[in-house]
C-alpha cells in the first residue's frame, strides 16, 4: 500500500491547479495521476490562442497555458504518474490504479481531488440515421489527430454543432488546406463564443446554418455526403428544406459530458443538470474529504475559470487534511430561479467562505437587457443589469460575505426583465 495525504485524479488544468494550491497550503505529500502520456490534459491539443486572459492578463495558446502549471508543479517536486489509469476509488479513500511500470497499485490517501474532465458526445448520443462509414469523428478527436499526431482527417468537411471546438476546427481544417462547407446548429443560437464565430467562420467565409441539422448520412466505406435540413421551433426537420453536401469528413461538436464513472461508483450524489457531482463552497462532494473541480463538475468555456475553481478545491483539500474545515449546522442551498439552468456550488456552508461567495451559472436561453437578481431566502441582496446573456457563455457572480445573512436556507438566482 502506497500512502499520500492528497491524491489528484487527472493531470489536466484542474488537477494541476488543485495540486499546486494544495502544496502552497502546506501539504507535502501529493500525487497526481494522469492516464495520458503527459500532463496538461486537453490543453495540449488546443494549440489556438485565447487562454489566460483572466488568469495572466495575456493571450496564451493551450500548450503555453499548460506549460506554466506543469513547470510550477515540477519545480515544487510534486509527485505524478503518467500513463496511469485509476480503476477504482472507494469511499474510504483507497485507490486502485495500474500502469506498465508499477503494475497494479493500491494507494491510500486522506483526501482525493477528482479532476477527470469531460469527454465529447458522439454520434451514438445523437442517433443520426444513415450508414456508418469512416470519416465521421468528434471535433476533439480530429483536433488531436491534426495537432498532435500529424494526421490530416479529410479534404472536404461539414461540421455538426457550433460548440467552440467545432468552430476552432473549422478554421484549423481551412488553414491546413481542407474545404469546410458549413456548420449546422440545431438551436437558433450558437453554442460557441462570439469571438470564435467571427474569427473561425466569418474570417474564412464558412457559413453557419442556425436551426439546421443533419438528417441522413451517405457513404459505404468512406463518407460521401450529408443531408442537411432546417428544423422548426420543436427541432423537427421541415420537409422541403433538405440540401445535400458532398463531403468526405463530418466533425461532431455537439456537447461535452463530465466523465464521472469513478464518481458514480463511489456513490457521491450527482446533479442531473450539470451531470457532475454536487459540490459545496469548498468544492467538496457529498463524501467528506473527496473534492472535485473543473469540467468533471460542470463544463466550463474558459480554462481560467477552471483554474480559479480548482485552486479552491486544492486549498480546501489541504484544510481538510489539517482538520481545519468548519462543519456547519446550517446548510444553505443554491436555487436556480427563472432563466437559470444551473448553479455551482449547489451547497454552501457560510462559515467556510472567505470574503466573497463565488457562484458559476448558465442561463437557459439568450436574454437581452435583463436583471440578474440574487435573493437570500426571499430578500434581494444583490442585482446586476446585463445587456446580454447567452447559454454558451458561463456567468460568474461574486457576492460579498457581509451581504449574506447567516441564518438563511437558500440563495436564489433569477432573471427578471427590466422594469418589472
Amino acid at each position: 500500500m502506497i500512502n499520500y495525504d492528497i491524491v489528484v485524479i487527472g493531470g489536466g488544468p484542474a488537477g494541476l491547479a488543485a495540486a499546486i494550491e494544495a502544496r502552497k497550503n502546506g501539504i507535502e505529500s501529493i500525487l497526481v495521476i494522469e492516464r495520458d502520456r503527459e500532463l496538461g490534459g486537453i490543453l495540449q491539443q488546443c494549440i489556438h490562442n485565447g487562454f489566460g486572459l483572466h488568469e495572466f492578463n495575456e493571450e496564451l495558446t493551450g500548450p503555453e497555458y499548460a506549460d506554466r502549471f506543469i513547470k510550477e508543479l515540477e519545480d515544487m517536486g510534486i509527485d505524478y504518474k503518467i500513463d496511469t489509469m485509476v480503476l477504482h476509488v472507494d469511499n474510504k479513500k483507497n485507490i486502485k490504479a495500474i500502469n506498465s511500470n508499477d503494475g497494479f497499485m493500491e494507494i491510500s490517501t486522506k483526501a482525493i481531488i477528482l479532476s477527470m474532465g469531460c469527454r465529447e458526445r458522439t454520434r451514438g448520443a445523437l442517433a443520426i440515421p444513415g450508414s456508418r462509414p469512416a470519416g465521421i469523428l468528434t471535433a476533439g478527436t480530429a483536433q488531436r489527430y491534426i495537432n498532435m499526431e500529424g494526421y490530416m482527417v479529410g479534404k472536404k468537411a461539414f461540421i455538426l454543432g457550433s460548440g467552440d471546438i467545432g468552430l476552432i476546427m473549422a478554421r484549423r481544417l481551412t488553414l491546413e488546406g481542407a474545404k469546410v462547407l458549413g456548420v449546422a446548429e440545431i438551436m437558433p443560437y450558437s453554442g460557441g463564443l462570439t469571438r470564435n464565430i467571427v474569427q473561425c467562420l466569418e474570417d474564412y467565409d464558412i457559413p453557419l446554418f442556425l436551426s439546421h441539422t443533419i438528417i441522413d448520412i451517405k457513404g459505404k466505406d468512406r463518407l460521401e455526403g450529408v443531408w442537411v435540413a432546417e428544423v422548426d421551433d420543436k427541432r423537427i426537420p421541415i420537409k422541403g428544406t433538405e440540401k445535400y453536401y458532398e463531403c468526405d469528413t463530418l466533425l461532431l461538436s455537439v456537447g461535452l459530458i463530465p466523465e464521472n464513472e469513478l464518481s458514480n461508483n463511489l456513490g457521491i450524489k450527482m446533479d442531473s443538470r450539470t451531470q457532475g457531482p454536487i459540490v459545496n463552497e469548498s468544492m467538496e462532494t457529498t463524501i467528506s474529504g473527496i473534492f472535485a473541480c473543473g469540467n468533471v463538475v460542470h463544463v466550463h468555456d474558459l480554462v481560467d475559470y477552471v483554474t480559479e475553481e480548482s485552486r479552491r478545491a486544492g486549498k480546501f483539500a489541504a484544510k481538510y487534511v489539517k482538520g481545519l474545515i468548519k462543519n456547519s449546522e446550517n446548510i444553505v442551498k443554491t436555487n436556480s430561479g427563472t432563466g437559470i439552468g444551473y448553479i455551482v456550488p449547489q451547497i454552501i456552508r457560510i462559515e467556510n467562505i472567505d470574503k466573497k461567495l463565488k457562484l458559476f451559472m448558465r442561463v437557459t436561453d439568450v436574454y437581452t437587457n435583463i436583471k440578474l437578481i440574487i435573493k437570500a431566502d426571499e430578500n434581494v441582496i444583490s442585482q446586476q443589469k446585463k445587456k446580454q446573456l447567452n447559454p454558451g457563455e458561463m456567468e460568474m457572480v461574486n457576492i460579498p460575505l457581509d451581504k449574506i445573512p447567516s441564518d438563511i436556507a437558500k440563495i436564489t438566482v433569477e432573471l427578471v426583465k427590466e422594469g418589472e
Binding site: I47, E59, P63, G150, T194, E202
Partner: protein, 121 residues
Amino acid sequence: MLRKEITCIVCPIGCRLLVEKDDKEELGYKVSGNKCTRGEDYGIKEMTNPTRVITSTVKVLNGLLPRVPIKTDGPVPKDKIFKCMEEIDKVVIEAPINIGDIIILDILNTGVNVVATRDMK
C-alpha cells in the same frame, strides 16, 4: 472598401457594426451599431488593417510527438495568413525544442517571428 458589416468581438455582446467610408471623420470611417467606443476602434481597425495571430504546428523529427505547436509572436496582416501557412508547412525541425524557440525569423518580412508554444523532448 466602402462599407462592411462586422460582428464586434471586444466583449460578449457581439454588436453588429456597420463600418462606412466617411471622409468627414478623422480616421476616414464612420462606425454605427456599436454600444461603446471600443467597438468603434475595433470596427475601424478591421476595415483598415485587420490582423490575426496564426497558430498551427510544424513537423518534428525524433520528438515525443511528431508535431510541435507554433504561433506567430504578434499579429500578421489577415491577407497574409495563407502565404504564412505555406512557409510554416515547409518547416521540419529536430527535437529537442523549447517553448519560445524561434522557428521562423521574421516570416515574410512582417517583422513577426514564428515561435514554438511548448517544449518537445
